[in-house]
Symmetry: C2
Subunit: 396 residues, 2 copies
C-alpha cells in the first residue's frame, strides 16, 4: 500500500487475468524459513509437489518445475523437443500466441503461422488441412495456446487433437495452459498433449516465479534427439535429479511450500471439477454483465468463451487506458489492459484463481461505476444481471 494515500482503505481488488489473488493460507505456507535444498525434508516437499502436479495436469508422465516465469516454460517446451530449422505449426489467436511465435523464430525454427483475427480460437479444420498437406511430416510440432489471456478465447484442444489424429501426422502437440490450468478443464493424457506449459501465478493461486512443463512419453523420446542447445531448461538433468526429490540447481523452496498448499486446496479440498464449475459460473455471470452494458465481447464464438477472463471491446474512440485509470483511482480495482493490437481498445476482467461470488460482484460494480465515471456510453444494470444469473445458477 502506498503511504499517505488518504482515499485508500480496505482491500485492493486485483482482477487482472493473473497474477491472481494469493490466498492467505498460501501466503502463510510460503512464510516459513527456507530449508536446505539437499535435505530429506526438501526431497519430501519436492516429491509431493511433483506428484501433486500430475493430478492438476491430469497426466501420468513427469512434470517439470522451473524456478522461472511462464515464458521460461515456453522456451523449455521448444528447446527440449526441437532442432534448428524444424517446422512448427502455430496459430495467431492473440498476443501470447504471437509472442510464442517470436520466440520460436529466435531459435531458428520455421514457423507456419496460421493468421487469425484475435477473436477466435484455433480452427481444428485448419489443423487437419495443414497437417494433411504436410506429406513429408516436415512439421515437428503443433503449438497451441489453450486460453488466450489477451482475448478471453479458449481453443478446443480436444478437437485439435482429433484433427491431428485424423491425419495420422506424428507432430508433437505443445499446449500453453498458463491461464487455463486449474481454472478451465484441461486433460493432458486424455487429449494426448505432449508438452504442456504453465505458470504458478494464475489458477494455481501462487505468486509468480514457478513454471511447469508436463511431458508425454512421446515428448520425452523426442527430447533425446532434439538439438537446440539448453542447460537450464534441460529435461534430462531435471528428471534425473527429480527422481530422488532434488533439483540440478537451486529451486524456489518457499514457492514450493506454497505450491504444496495450493495443490491441497485445489485438488483435495475444492476438487478440480468444482473449481472448473466455479469458473464457468463466474465467466457466464461476467458475460451477462457485459451484454447488459451493451458492450461487445472480444470472443465471437460461444464455444470458445473463456471462463478465466473476459475481454471487453470499448466503443470506437474510447480509451481503455483511461477507463482503467479512472477505475483504479476511484475504486482501487486493477483490470487487465489491451495487449498488442488490442491496446487501448480492450480491457480484461480476470476472474480466475481464488475468487467467489461477492468478489465478482464487487469487481463488476467497479467496472459499472467506472464506465459511467469515464463517460463511456453503456447501459446500467450489468451488476444486477450478473446477480440474477448467479442467484439462479447453483454453484456445483
Amino acid at each position: 500500500m502506498t503511504k499517505h494515500d488518504p482515499g485508500r482503505s480496505g482491500r485492493h481488488f486485483l482482477q487482472i487475468p493473473g497474477p491472481t489473488n494469493v490466498p492467505d493460507r498460501i501466503l502463510r505456507a510460503i512464510d516459513r524459513p527456507t530449508i536446505d535444498h539437499r535435505s530429506s525434508e526438501f526431497a519430501q516437499l519436492a516429491t509431493e509437489c511433483l506428484e501433486g502436479l500430475k493430478t492438476v495436469f491430469r497426466c501420468t508422465g513427469p512434470v517439470i518445475i522451473y524456478p522461472a516465469s511462464g515464458t521460461g516454460a515456453w522456451e523449455a517446451a521448444l528447446v527440449n523437443v526441437l532442432s534448428p530449422d524444424d517446422r512448427i505449426l502455430m496459430f495467431e489467436t492473440g498476443h501470447f500466441a504471437t509472442l510464442w511465435r517470436k520466440m520460436a523464430e529466435r531459435f531458428s525454427l520455421e514457423v507456419d503461422f496460421v493468421p487469425g483475427d484475435w477473436r477466435h480460437g484455433i480452427d481444428p479444420a485448419v489443423v487437419e488441412s495443414r497437417l494433411s498437406e504436410d506429406k513429408e511430416h516436415a512439421i515437428k510440432a503443433v503449438a497451441c495456446v489453450h486460453n488466450e489471456t489477451s482475448t478471453g478465447v479458449t481453443s478446443r484442444i480436444a478437437e485439435v487433437r482429433s484433427a491431428m489424429n485424423a491425419t495420422n501426422h506424428p507432430a508433437l502437440l505443445l499446449v500453453d495452459t498458463v491461464s487455463s490450468l486449474g481454472s478451465i478443464d484441461y486433460r493432458q493424457d486424455e487429449w494426448g498433449v505432449d508438452v504442456a506449459v504453465a505458470g504458478s501465478q494464475k489458477g494455481l493461486m501462487l505468486p509468480p516465479g514457478l513454471s511447469f512443463n508436463a511431458i508425454s512419453a512421446k515428448a520425452l523420446d523426442a527430447s533425446r534427439a532434439a538439438k537446440l542447445p539448453k542447460l537450464y531448461w534441460s529435461w534430462g538433468e531435471m528428471l534425473s535429479s527429480n527422481r530422488s526429490g532434488f533439483f540440478p540447481y537451486t529451486p524456489s523452496t518457499n514457492l514450493l511450500y506454497g505450491l504444496r498448499e495450493a495443490i491441497e486446496m485445489l485438488v483435495h479440498e475444492e476438487g478440480l471439477e468444482n473449481a472448473f464449475r466455479r469458473h464457468a459460473r463466474h465467466g457466464e455471470a461476467a458475460r451477462q454483465a457485459v451484454r447488459t452494458w451493451g458492450l461487445e465481447l472480444v470472443c465471437l464464438d460461444p464455444r470458445e468463451y473463456s471462463n478465466s477472463l473476459t475481454a471487453v471491446l470499448l466503443p470506437d474512440r474510447h480509451s481503455e487506458v483511461q477507463l482503467r485509470q479512472v477505475i483504479l483511482e476511484h475504486f482501487d480495482l486493477s483490470l487487465g489492459s489491451g495487449l498488442g493490437k488490442l491496446a487501448d481498445k480492450v480491457f480484461r476482467i480476470g476472474h480466475l484463481g481464488s475468487f467467489n461470488d461477492l468478489m465478482l460482484c464487487g469487481t463488476l460494480s467497479g467496472v459499472e461505476m467506472g464506465l459511467e465515471k469515464a463517460g463511456i456510453p453503456f447501459r446500467k444494470g450489468g451488476v444486477a444481471a450478473a446477480m440474477d444469473y448467479l442467484n439462479c445458477t447453483p454453484r456445483a
Copy 2:
C-alpha cells in the same frame, strides 16, 4: 478456513459490525517476535501508542490501554469513578446500553434507566430534565453509548453535553465509543467527556484483545475518592507505570505493534476526518440500498443514522437467523445478528473499519441475492441504488 469445503474460494466477507477486517499491514506488524515488556524498546512502543491514542480520542488527558476486551473497559469506567450506591443515569438505547446497565447493578450502583424503544438515541431534553430534577446532585455519572451497535443508532453526545451544561449538574459524562471511535466523529475534550470506553476490534482495525479508557482531569479527581474495589482496572497504578512506558502487569505486546501501525494508518495516512467522511458515504450508500429494497431501518431519526453499521428490520414472520444462514452458506458473507429483543427480527451490516466502495458493493450484493434466496419480500435494485449514490458522491 474450514478444510474440505468445496464451495469455498476467495475471501470471506466479514461484515459483522466488529470485529472488523484487519488490514494485512496490521497483521504483519503483529507478526513479529514478542519483546521484553520491561525493555526500553517496549517503553518506546507503549509511549507511541499512548500518545497516538490521544489523537484518536481527541483528548489531552491520559488514555489507558487494557489487555482486555471492551467489556473490561466498561467495567473500568465504572469502578474507577464510582462508589457503592452511587446513582448513575443510563439510557435504554439498545442491547449494549442494557448490558452496561446490568454491569452497573452488579456493582451495587443505583441506576436511573431511562426507557427507550431501541430505535432512537439519547434525547438531550431528557438528560436536561433528569439532571434538573436532581437538586441534591445524587447522580454521579451520566453513561451514554455513543453508537449503539445493536441498532445502528448514534446518540448526539455534543448535545447531551450541552444539556448537562445547561443544568450546571456536576455528574461525570461516561461514553461508550466502542463502535464509533475511528469511524464516527468523536471529540473527547471538545464535548467534555470524562471517561470514554473503546476497544481495538472496530474502527481501529485490530483483532479483539485491547480496550481503552480516555480520562478527563475531572474523572481523575473523582477516581481518588471512588470506593468500588479494583486492582486490574485501577487507573492509579496504570498511569503511574505508564509514565515510564510500562504496565503494572503483562501487556498485550503484539497487539501494541498492531495498534502503532493502526494509528499510523488512521491518523497519519488517511486522517481521521477522511475516515469519518468515508464511513458517512458508505453509511448513506447502505441506507439507499435498504430503502430501495423496501426494508425498514431500525433507526428512525435521520440525525441519528449510524455510519459504522446499518441495522435492518425484516418484514413480520421472516427470520434474520435464517437469512444470515442462507447468506453465509451461499455467499461466504458474515452479517450481524439481531440482539436482545431484536433477535431474529433484525440483521446488521457492518461497514466500519478498513473498508472501501467495492467491498461495500460486494457486501450489498450478498444481501440482495440472499434476500431473494431466503424468500423475503423485497424489491431488487438496492445495489444499483448504492452504486448510483457512490458514483455521484465524491470520496472526500
